[in-house]
Symmetry: C2
Subunit: 395 residues, 2 copies
């Protein structure tokens, strides 16, 4: 994989023994100056300690470094967990000679076990020594847990004649649900961006990307998406409503879309990436609700795995989505092969449709013929490996 460099940012990914496998488990990310920051955190009411600390950090709107460990989520760890997350930041602050309040902590992995603080502090020392502009992929590797591959993406855009980079890394494979998951995503740009503008770009882009994917419908306690803009490229700060905002927004959304699809591709045990497109709903919200209900149905997802164009399960899921639909108007197609026309199944098309489902990715299109609302979500299939991975998951 081509490496990614973003002016003004350094990275490190090291192993410090949190994972029994001895794989990389600590990442450190540092900007040469405090960066404008925007963040989204899990909406789960059970929030991990680093999320609670991170939310507090975001009040000031500037972040200069991020310290992430994998292998232990520091969740359900009570007051001690919060003290540990703070201590992680202090340890990094001492090494980097910056204020602890400019450091955002993240953790992912097993829940309910206190962080091994000595290992973490060792890891921070080690990481601080090897920080480099060329270690983006190493850091992206160190934030993984059950992921099968490193997930990074980048784009460039022009802002007032300056070339700016937007790049991101994401971690996540299970517990991927709308409005995030055990998902940690860090997006960086060397553009200068006004804080409100950065927030707006992040929210809009996440709504179109991270919030449109689902693997298992479970939502984690640790989800974090952080967007840092350090201004190293020398542009004048991007403001809301400007042409530059559009350019940066387009690049940011493209990066997050790449990362979101990689999440689904790496969905635990997944063998396929399926776009569920719902058209003709009375509103976008209703389209999304139908799409997510279908995309999360265990029966639909196992049928995807078996390359079975089981429109009955799809129709049943549409029917219990809680949206007022007219069954006799519904069309369902796989990549253009119609299997339901006006609510009636077309069993004769099953063989042709089964060939579509045997591909590594395809689109399931559901037309409700009730209005103009449409939405897409991306999901994976449900395989034996999902069960294997999750019935035996320990780091």
């Amino acid at each position: 994989m081509a490496n990614i460099r973003i002016p003004g940012f350094k990275f490190a990914g090291v192993a410090c023994g949190i994972k029994k496998s001895r794989k990389k488990d600590l990442a450190l990310i540092v900007s040469e100056r405090p960066a404008t920051a925007a963040a989204l955190f899990t909406t789960n009411r059970v929030k991990a300690a680093p999320v609670l600390v991170g939310m507090r950090r975001m009040r000031r709107g500037f972040i200069q470094a991020v310290v992430v460990n994998s292998g232990n989520a520091n969740a359900c760890t009570g007051a001690r967990g919060v003290r540990d997350a703070e201590a992680m930041c202090r340890a990094a602050a001492n090494r980097l000679k910056i204020a602890p309040g400019l450091i955002l902590p993240s953790s992912t992995g097993l829940i309910g076990v206190p962080l091994p603080m000595e290992k973490i502090k060792d890891g921070i020392r080690k990481a601080a020594r090897v920080l480099s502009m060329d270690s983006f992929a190493a850091a992206a590797d160190a934030i993984l847990t059950t992921d099968r591959f490193v997930k990074i993406a980048s784009r460039t855009c022009r802002l007032n004649g300056k070339r700016a980079v937007v790049a991101g890394m994401v971690k996540g494979a299970g517990m991927i649900a709308p409005h995030m998951a055990t998902m940690l995503a860090y997006i960086f740009t060397d553009a200068a961006v006004g804080r409100d503008c950065l927030r707006a770009i992040l929210k809009r882009s996440a709504d179109q990307t991270f919030h449109c994917v689902t693997v298992d419908g479970d939502m984690s306690t640790n989800d974090t998406v952080l967007f840092l803009a350090n201004g190293a490229c020398g542009n004048s700060p991007v403001r809301r409503g400007s042409r530059e905002e559009k350019a940066l927004s387009k690049a940011s959304e493209a990066v997050m879309k790449d990362l979101a699809l990689k999440l689904v591709e790496d969905g635990e045990g997944g063998t396929k990436v399926v776009e569920v497109l719902v058209e003709g709903a009375r509103s976008v919200a209703q389209a999304k609700r139908v799409a997510f209900t279908v995309a999360n149905s265990k029966l639909v997802k196992t049928a995807f795995f078996g390359s079975d164009p089981n429109f009955g399960r799809i129709m049943a899921a549409i029917g219990y989505a809680g949206v007022p639909i007219r069954p006799e108007r519904i069309d369902v197609a796989f990549n253009g092969v119609t299997v339901v026309k006006r609510g009636v199944g077309m069993a004769s098309r099953e063989k042709k449709a089964a060939r579509v489902l045997s591909r590594p990715s395809f689109r399931l299109k559901i037309h409700l013929h009730q209005g103009e609302g449409s939405a897409s979500v991306w999901t994976s299939d449900l395989s034996y490996d999902y069960v294997r991975i999750n019935s035996a998951y320990k780091t």
Copy 2:
């Protein structure tokens, strides 16, 4: 299995070739006189043809016969499906010499394929010839699809000095969700019961039983629970608010509870039956919502399969249930082995808890410490076999 007899009811279960396996696939149930009837149907907006016809039949409140086929759901079959369901009733009516309006049709199996009407008519002829008081189990066998075993239950009660029987059969293994599933349940009693009273007993009992189980969270297009009371035992009709109502209600709920637990026990690929009990919620509704969210989580269910007391996944599911909870108050225990105390994980109890999870059934108790609301739901685990069965399901 001991056979079940209910005075005034006859049963038949035969094979007529709808299932390629040549297993029994048509059941006929006849009361010696029109029976007072109460019914619940799927709340799925996509309703199978026999459900649409059955709902119409129920307006009169009397049913004398039920004709059920398995192997084909007669769903997503458009206007033809409704004509076929009506024709099923007419065929049975001709054989039994009763009005078609007194016959309720049911179908379960594959969706989207028209009913093979010649086979069905053959089956009805065959079944009518072998109707017998002793064929309860044969009928219960003929309504099955992916079920691994016949699910029947009975109780007796005394009503004004008369002994009355309540007995039921149920079909269902996948698509089992709150508010029903690919579930067909038929409950019979030889008691005489007022129509309002029968309805009230059915609704109350179903809320405590069928509506408290979940296998995969999918809800089918064909769900039906029918309760018939034919009065053959000679009691004076049971009225609302009477002591007799209590006795009959208790017996009915016990029968439905037995059947509901058998549904979970037979949950597709399930190896365990788990009660998820939520206490200390602000209301019963909130307790139920938390219980169902935990019981439907794919991550929690795969952990059950792996005998992994993964309280992190449980805490995460509690947190996204959409109920305002206070994480720092939550206790979680498996059969009395506490694994979370005031929101903090107790990793030291994991081995002891894992031994509880290795049993074929156990209770997961979640105490929210916020109020007096409590609720139990029953669920199965998510195994390799769930994936095997559902990625390759064809009759």
